[in-house]
């Protein structure tokens, strides 16, 4: 055995499963937990179980939530005519931080990727279509600018176009506060392609 305690070994293995955590860091985290007061550790353990027990998926937008439907879907302050389609709950958090978007969301739970065995049935596409016809008149496709995000954007556009809503996608271009000279040429050439008439 590597360590003098089986409990420690177990914890190291659990930490090591986390994304971005190797065995060395896992050991450091485990020893850190060992040094903390018991009540702190219990609090953390409970927080871990709570996210699992209390969080479900919103039956409307498929985002993570404690109440179903979620607070965004039920909020009276949101514009109910605009919907932003994203891949993951983390994308909703990122967009909410902007305070710019006041509409509703739909979380697909990923993007099309045959190599990973992900097709439309593995994404929340049926739930998306179930929201039509309704109040929604504009759909913003805010998927990642990857090969998979792009294919998903094309797929959804083909599905949603016949439903009559206005469909747009996020602009691709230069990061705000970035210098043109430091932008990579692929981004720059696509930003040039998607230029805006003034």
């Amino acid at each position: 055995m590597l360590y003098t305690s089986e409990a420690l070994q177990q914890l190291v293995e659990e930490f090591a499963r986390l994304p971005g955590i190797g065995r060395k860091t896992a050991l450091r985290l485990s020893l850190f937990m060992l040094k903390r007061p018991r009540e702190d550790v219990v609090k953390m353990a409970r927080a871990l179980v709570d996210v699992k027990d209390r969080i479900t998926n919103c039956s409307v937008c498929c985002n993570i939530t404690e109440a179903d439907p979620c607070t965004i879907c039920t909020s009276a302050k949101r514009e109910r005519t605009t919907m932003c389609v994203v891949e993951e709950p983390s994308d909703v958090i990122a967009l909410e931080k902007t305070n710019e978007f006041r509409g509703l969301y739909h979380v697909l739970g990923g993007a099309l990727s045959p190599l990973d065995g992900i097709g439309p049935d593995d994404l929340k596409v049926r739930e998306l279509l179930a929201r039509f016809p309704g109040d929604i008149t504009e759909v913003i496709l805010a998927l990642n600018p990857t090969v998979e995000g792009e294919a998903t954007t094309i797929y959804l556009t083909r599905l949603l176009k016949p439903l009559g809503a206005k469909i747009s996608r996020l602009a691709r271009g230069i990061p705000v506060g970035g210098n043109l000279e430091f932008a990579d040429e692929a981004t720059l050439s696509r930003a040039l392609e998607g230029r805006i008439t003034l």
């Binding site: 099309l112 045959p114 097709g119 090969v147 294919a151 998903t152 692929a186 050439s189």
Partner: protein, 379 residues
Amino acid sequence: MRVRTLHLTAFRNHADTALQPGTGITLLVGDNGQGKTNVLEAISFLSLSKSFYAANDAQAVMLGQDVLEIGAGIAHDAGREFDVRVTVRATSGDKAIRVNGSALEKLSALVGMFPAVILSPEQGGIIAGAPAERRKFLDVVLSQTSRSYLADVMEYRRVLRQRNKLLLDARLAGTPPARELPAWTDELVGLGSRLIHMRERFVDGVHTEFAETYRALAGTRGDAAVRYITADGIVHGMETAEIAGCLREAIARREAEELRRGATLAGPHRDDLAFEIDGRAAERYASQGEQKTLLIALKLSEYRFVSVRCGETPILLLDDVFAELDRHRAARVMHMLRSTAGQCIITATDEALIGEAPRWNNEHRRIIVDSGTCREASS
């Protein structure tokens, strides 16, 4: 660009080799297996971030050593100096590239920074080998000169794998293709048509120069030509949108066959270049010497294309080029090399092979490579 200093540590058979190439022609001369090509390969790492022939980086580490290092002082045409360091670890295969002390996050960021044009025996396949070798040639040239081509080509390969997986799944299951196939087709056509457009423009840009260079090298009236062969319907001078339309139709026409074979059957990954001398296919009718001459003409055209597009003179690396050339052609090649503005590094087993040697001085250097060491030949 010019390589001012080059330092190889534990790189193939070079334990610790330092050399200073001349500003013009540098001849690396030595017997077989002494490490001449390894010097060119090291420069290829500095330019392309990888070997020009070996697929496995870790194999370049000297036997019994753990880390190889290629260090170079490189100057751009405008005089800006760079310190470039490539390290590869044998055990893990980890590769790191540092430019002026800061590590590159993506190795592809190096491509195009220090352009090189390489001609080696492995590239004989460009004229007479499989179509894949000609597509690789196009991709390397265009990636060096256009960052957006490089990004498109990497995305295209990924889309192609995704689309092929859908077709293969359908073939294996014996069912119609998944309903998201058209979305992948759209994306493939979008990226593919941009690649075809860029490749057409490249061939357009070099074909006159290629024919002229061939004529000058061959010293005959032989007319050499190069054409890009792509999906039917696509003709010379089309814009990207028109190419996309034709490619879409070409894929649609092959729908049944695509399902039978479980693969995408039209697109830049199926295209080719055709070389001809006096209207006859070079791969079938040209002699070894003629094929070699075509290749040199192509590479010199590439050299000028890269110079113009990058705004930076590439370094020209010629590995064992003179072996199949007659005395007259060798002399003409040397004459052309001396008239190019940039740096040129040549390997040969014997100085007599290069036909007409320049005067060896600081500009043109002759370096003897002997079991992993380099020393300047005394004149």
